[in-house]
Amino acid sequence: MSILNRLHDVFAENCQWTCRFLSIHGRTVHIMFLSNVADDQLLSEGILRPLQKLDSHEVEQLTPDYLLGQLPLKKGELSCDLEQICHKLMLGWSYVWIQDGTDGLLMYTAAHHERSLSKAEIESDEYGPQVAFVEELSTNLSLLYKLLPDSKLCVSSLEMGDVSKTVVNIVYLKEYANEDQVSLLRSRISSLQHINGMLDSLKLAQLLDDNVATLFPTMLHTERPDRVCQGLLANKIALFVDGSPFAVLCPVTIYEFFHAGSDMYQRWIVGMLLRVLRMCAMIASVFVTSIYVAAITFHYQVIPPELLKTLIQSHSRVPFPPILEALMLEVMIELLRESSIRMPSKVGQTMGVVGGIVIGQAAVEAGFISNILLMIVALGTLSSFVVSNFAMGNSLQIIRFPLIILAGAWGGVGIIVGTCFIIIHLARQTSLGVPYLQPMNMLAGKSDEHSVMRMIWKWMKRENSSYRIRKPKEDFAE
């Protein structure tokens, strides 16, 4: 059976399947492609027209080899392997087969449905490059090459998924990244070879985690090329998945989830204070509601008299115990959050704000919840938005619930037990073998990437040797 018939069999139920035959000076050339993924213009300009221009002399000795030299297309190869041909056809290639030959010619005629580059939306920031990754892998890599045009930049490609055949690229800087980590990552990815559908890098990141059950993201995803480059320069490895506009950076420590790209572009004091603010916001968003519940339910002694009167007045109208009241309000806020994400953007915003105010106000008026609690929960939610990484923000949002329940059952002791549990959990995590709470660099600005603080550029170890401009310091300036 000829290759033509076999291909006909494979694609018998695919209505896009097109097999065009061209008769040139008596010989028949078959051109096969899937009409939706192949580019019309490339087909006609790159295959059909050159074929038609062949003179009879050439046609007589027409071989696939000769033809490969004649067709003006970017990529082309000889093949008679049915599986490979099918795969390439699915990707938009065309198959050119000369009647009665053995080998055919695979030509690259894929059509690109690419959206244009746009501003970063999820990680939008005031300073720094504004461009964001898109769904097309090659575009993303070209953005990276533009920022780091050096031969040390290594890109190795792997394929995942039996059906999806997703291309995954591991990007790192040679001599910067730890070789062991790269090979570990590679072996983990190849062990996931037969995964059923790898459609986004976030899924990949979860599958590659050291501890699959952890509550916290141990790999950082970002849509900003400059963030990825910063990471690569700090010995990290980046993962790109074709079709996903997010790159994944690993290994990371927890502090990096509270960094924003623009910290590095701000004046140092501003950058540092913003980081402190973000850390405080994180602590606030996790603990405020549970502290309120604990104080109201168990520890009336620790409230100063003035505040006590206010709290009694505000809570006395509410018929529920504080824990129930807090959980109700938290769930309500979660509902608002979730609905405003799924709504069409214009409607969503309005609905979120109006719904929040109306429901909150009405609940207070009706004596369902106390107004102080409403304020506290709003504060916590607001704080959780300050955390720059939304995956981390969501994790923090979830921790609040067990903490509120613990606070309602055990008061302050419960909160501390919960906190201790979280600390132990975090201390157990590793990201590619690197401790998640790498404690050594917590405050010192040895290198920015692990530290809580952002220091003056000059003070950071990496920057020290090469860029330091020494000024003679003998006296005050005139």
């Binding site: 983990r188 109201i296 009336y300 008299p305 007045q313 059952a409 055990w410 008061g411």
Partner: protein, 382 residues
């Protein structure tokens, strides 16, 4: 690093399950603030003669669940101050809790008999803070706590604010539980408490109660109180009025009244006490008083520095005699609220320094006052 390393890592479910179990079976007793009867003030009196009980307790608590935070008084009698809770709980619907107590009042008859057993239970109780104010009430504490004040504020809060203000910038030395116990347990010092009175619809601090150990044995009037507090270290007073002798000031002005008063505001005092003779014993008390002169009761031209200095010297003389008077009174009563005994103990190596020994020595002690008054300014006119 092998891939299996990760696969073998087990998910630890056990702690999670245990955690949930513990939370569900949590048997901690909730104290939700608006369901509690939070005590703000407690008063103790001697119980009636004919009853079997020893102590009558009055408590002042926030009305539970009410939107206003007015306080309600409740009273009952029993043999111990904490045992009375049993009886009190029969009279109140909410659970009475003592953790927010701010003021503890003792009726004068009770205070004269000694209050240490009642304060001891406070320091034993972990619920109670050490910043509770202890006060002595004229006649009975019950009457004080039941009184209506002119500002119509909750009596408990009113008492607390009244005391707090007068401790920070008035003549009342800090009467917190900590300071009371600190002085009580110290061999060379005696506690001193404010003495509160109800006059009509007004609650006021009328004087200070002198305590010998834990028994009230006398009181100090306002001038004496000022002197004692001024001697107790660095203090701040909002205002103080000093009477001056007109005799020596005649050459500076024409007196229209036979007495002259100056009032100082923002008065700062600094005191240093030194033992200058170990045997007598003799103390040197150095007091530096600074203040803005706000008012003079007669017309005096204050443009000359000389005049101001003369006024300062006169003020020093008055203060010195006031200090000497109050010390004579204290020595007669053998109480030492200033803590000269502590100064003595810390500068002289004495074996077995006890309160009894010190009382004997204190009676014979001599005091040399070195007072210096400075008028920081005389206001915006001269």
């Amino acid at each position: 690093m092998h891939i299996n390393n990760r696969e073998k890592k087990r998910v630890y479910f056990v702690p999670y399950i245990l955690l949930i179990f513990l939370v569900v079976t949590g048997c901690a007793e909730a104290k939700i603030i608006d369901k509690l009867g939070i005590l703000v003030a407690v008063g103790y009196d001697l119980a009636d003669e004919d009853s079997n009980d020893r102590i009558r307790t009055t408590v002042l608590s926030y009305k539970p669940g009410a939107t206003s935070t007015n306080t309600v008084p409740t009273s009952a009698s029993n043999n111990t101050s904490k045992g009375v809770r049993e009886k009190l709980s029969l009279r109140t619907s909410a659970k009475l809790v003592i953790g927010q107590m701010r003021v503890a009042a003792y009726g004068e008859p009770l205070a004269r008999g000694g209050i240490i057993t009642l304060t001891d239970t406070f320091q034993r109780d972990s619920e109670i803070g050490t910043s509770v104010y202890l006060v002595v009430a004229k006649d009975s504490a019950e009457q004080l706590l039941n009184a209506k004040n002119r500002q119509r504020a909750g009596t408990g809060d009113y008492l607390y604010d009244l005391l707090k203000k007068n401790i920070e910038s008035g003549i009342v030395p800090s009467p917190t539980l900590h300071h009371f116990l600190n002085a009580y347990y110290r061999s060379g010092k005696d506690p001193i408490l404010p003495y509160l009175e109800v006059q009509g619809d007004e609650i006021l601090i009328s004087k200070l109660a002198l305590m010998k150990d834990d028994r009230m044995i006398g009181s100090l009037n306002l001038t004496e109180s000022f002197s004692v507090k001024a001697m107790m270290g660095s203090n701040h007073f909002l205002t103080h009025e000093i009477e001056l002798n007109t005799e020596r000031l005649r050459k500076y002005y024409e007196p229209t009244f036979d007495k002259l008063y100056v009032t100082l505001s923002h008065v700062m005092t600094k005191t240093r006490i030194k033992v200058i003779d170990k045997n007598t014993p003799e103390f040197q008390v150095q007091i530096r008083l600074k203040g803005e002169m706000e008012e003079v009761s007669d017309l005096i031209n204050l443009e000359e520095a000389e005049v101001i200095h003369a006024l300062e010297r006169e003020a020093e003389k008055t203060l010195k005699s006031e200090f000497e008077d109050v010390m004579r009174k204290l020595q007669k009563k053998q109480v030492d609220p200033v803590g000269f005994g502590s100064h003595y103990r810390s500068s002289v190596r004495v074996q077995d320094f006890t309160a009894e020994k010190w009382r004997e020595m204190f009676k014979e002690a001599r005091f040399v006052f070195d007072v210096k008054v400075t008028f920081v300014n005389v206001g915006i006119t001269s």
